[in-house]
Assembly symmetry: C2
Homo-oligomer: 386 residues x 2
């Protein structure tokens, strides 16, 4: 938070993987088999990418050898498989820069997602793998204009991630959204049943129908019936702002507190109605939206938002820069996880050839190779079986 | 067996898959998702291909999402995944011919492996997929000359598969080999412990060391100690033949019985020795050896024993003929199961485009597509979850 603090030293690694979805996790495993040290950075708060963030419990039926597997289970399986190599996994970090250093390596920056670049980290690696799916999954933004100034700083009143410091003092909290994340947050903020009715927390959604499981639906209905939570139907279309009297904690107003504070939302309500909803803390939970994001600014040759690669190596036209999974394109490309696993495998072979140009590449099998079994920590198991 | 019997009618199908290993099984699944009817033919007696035939119990560590998985388990998982489509699986059949019919479809022949073409089956399909690994896995042959005439017919004395009709009457059975299949067969043919010592069954192997699990080793040692089984160390180098008196069952000699019978094997024994081993039934169990086999005679453009394919479609240069798995080659090819799964997926998409040229191909996901879930028989499951 303090811009005067010294930035952390750059992290140097042989391979940096942007993403931590299935393609990225299996790529890290294949890099491990190639004895290439890697680290992973993902904007999401948990590994698993789109599969885990968007449909953790929905079954996937076309993963080879896994007749039914949820996104959550696939993620757990891939993490378990990756355990012998245990690469550092940096979550909640948006990678925001990519440029070539004079020595030929890549330099990147990452920042904690949503904090406006206050905690930057620099990365240096000869090999960079973009396994970023359809881009960074970022919280979908409110479409109402004028909210931006309230998103930053210690007295932020609009918060897309977690809770700001000011949450405890807020009088009128509005959670906006209709999925499980929104409903769970609203229930978490509502006073306990023993505290009785309270007007402090409002759940705002465009319709009375929520995309949630029956159990959560039951909990929501109970909290509404007890008056611990208000439900308001509508869509924000404007703001009311005023002096920051309510939330200012300092005895004498600091320059920062001189800015106006968010006081209420103007809503368009069902049936062409209008309403005003008091709000000194807005917590939008509108789902995740993939953004190509910084990738679009890296000067790479994109074709319809995808990175063209050589299908034999998954290499982009930039030496040392590879792309695997939904973000890449080559003749015959299908955006399927099974194809991403193949791409990760070929990319790891190509990376090893690039990193160790003189060395002959033999195809070895984990079933029979003592070297691979040593790497996997199963050298003894094989000897006993053979 | 009767050459005058009418041959069975040709089997017509949309897609014929040659092979039943992991690539073939997952290809059949992907063809199912594309609503293409297929049948599989494999020379081996069980599905699973090389994985299952050569190392059923050895762990594989690099299948995505399956941190440790034996060839047997992988086969079972792929068969379970394929169950919704339930394609006919023809085992123990060697595909021995491929030619184009005037209507553009492919015609093939298959015969029961090892019976010398006595039971041919004809196949007709517009799409043929070669998923034959490194070729047909056939029993490794004895290297001693002159055995061929004893491999055929009802009074065969050399049998690479199962047991011939004459086995019951045999006085001197020799099982030749050093792996579990050889030892298990010798133990199965040896008289029970209650019958005491017997000179009828000999296990012939070049060394006293067997490639078997400790439990089987224990059973072998017990049978040898009890005299129910003889162990002879050596390698066949020649034959003794004589009139077929011992095995002839017919009162008057038929022309077939006029040929000489196998009576003994000449052995080279350890330490430059020689020996003669009585033998009227030889059961070689020398493992499986991949043979490119008939593939080499099909007039296809092979490159160093592999079929070049377009990496976007897995199509060979022959329209309607695809190759997936270890048999194919394209830039970047790695002979890994994970790559074969990808190849099977792209081949199924390409096959659908070829079979239904006018139809637009949309990429659908099993997680969300009602059509795919209907095909998989899980349409209800999704509705409940979503």
């Amino acid at each position: 938070m303090n811009p005067a603090a010294a930035p952390p030293p750059p992290i140097e690694t042989e391979a940096l993987i942007i993403g931590a979805g299935p393609a990225a996790l299996f790529l890290a495993f294949q890099l491990g088999l190639q004895e290439i040290a890697c680290q992973l950075v993902d904007v999401l708060p948990a590994p698993g990418g789109q599969c885990h963030a968007l449909y953790p419990d929905k079954p996937i039926y076309d993963l080879p050898g896994l007749p039914v597997c949820s996104g959550r289970e696939l993620t757990e399986r891939l993490l378990q498989q990756l355990r012998p190599f245990n690469p550092p996994l940096h979550l909640g970090q948006l990678v925001s820069g990519l440029q070539r250093l004079p020595d030929g390596r890549w330099q990147l920056r990452s920042s904690v997602s949503g904090d406006g670049g206050n905690s930057e980290q620099e990365w240096i690696a000869p090999l960079v793998f973009i396994a970023a799916g359809v881009g960074a999954f970022l919280p979908r933004k409110e479409s109402v204009a004028g909210l931006e100034p309230f998103e930053r700083g210690p007295s932020a009143q609009v918060c897309y991630h977690g809770l700001p410091a000011a949450a405890a003092a807020a009088q009128h909290i509005v959670v906006h959204g209709g999925d499980a994340a929104a409903v769970e947050l609203a229930l978490e903020l509502a006073p306990p049943p023993s505290a009785g009715a309270s007007g402090r927390v409002t759940l705002l959604h465009r319709s009375p129908r929520f995309q949630i499981e029956p159990a959560l639906q039951g909990a929501l209905e109970q909290a509404l019936a007890q008056g611990r939570l208000q439900l308001v139907l509508g869509q924000p279309v404007g703001l009311d702002c005023g002096p920051a009297a309510n939330l200012a904690q300092a005895p004498e107003p600091a320059p920062q507190d001189a800015r106006p504070a968010l006081q209420a939302l103007h809503l368009a309500t069902p049936g062409d109605g209008h309403a005003t909803l008091p709000c000194d803390l807005l917590l939008p939970r509108l789902g995740l939206s993939p953004k190509l994001g910084p990738l679009a600014d890296w000067g790479l040759a994109l074709e319809r938002k995808h990175l063209p690669v050589d299908s034999a190596t998954m290499a982009t036209t930039e030496p040392g820069l590879f792309a695997v999974g939904d973000i890449n394109h080559y003749p015959g490309k299908r955006k399927l996880i099974v194809c991403a696993f193949h791409e990760a495998t070929l990319a790891a072979f190509a990376a090893a050839a690039l990193l160790r140009p003189g060395q002959r590449q033999l195809l070895q099998y984990t079933t029979t190779s003592p070297r691979l079994q040593q790497l996997l920590g199963v050298a003894g198991a094989s000897a006993a079986a053979g």
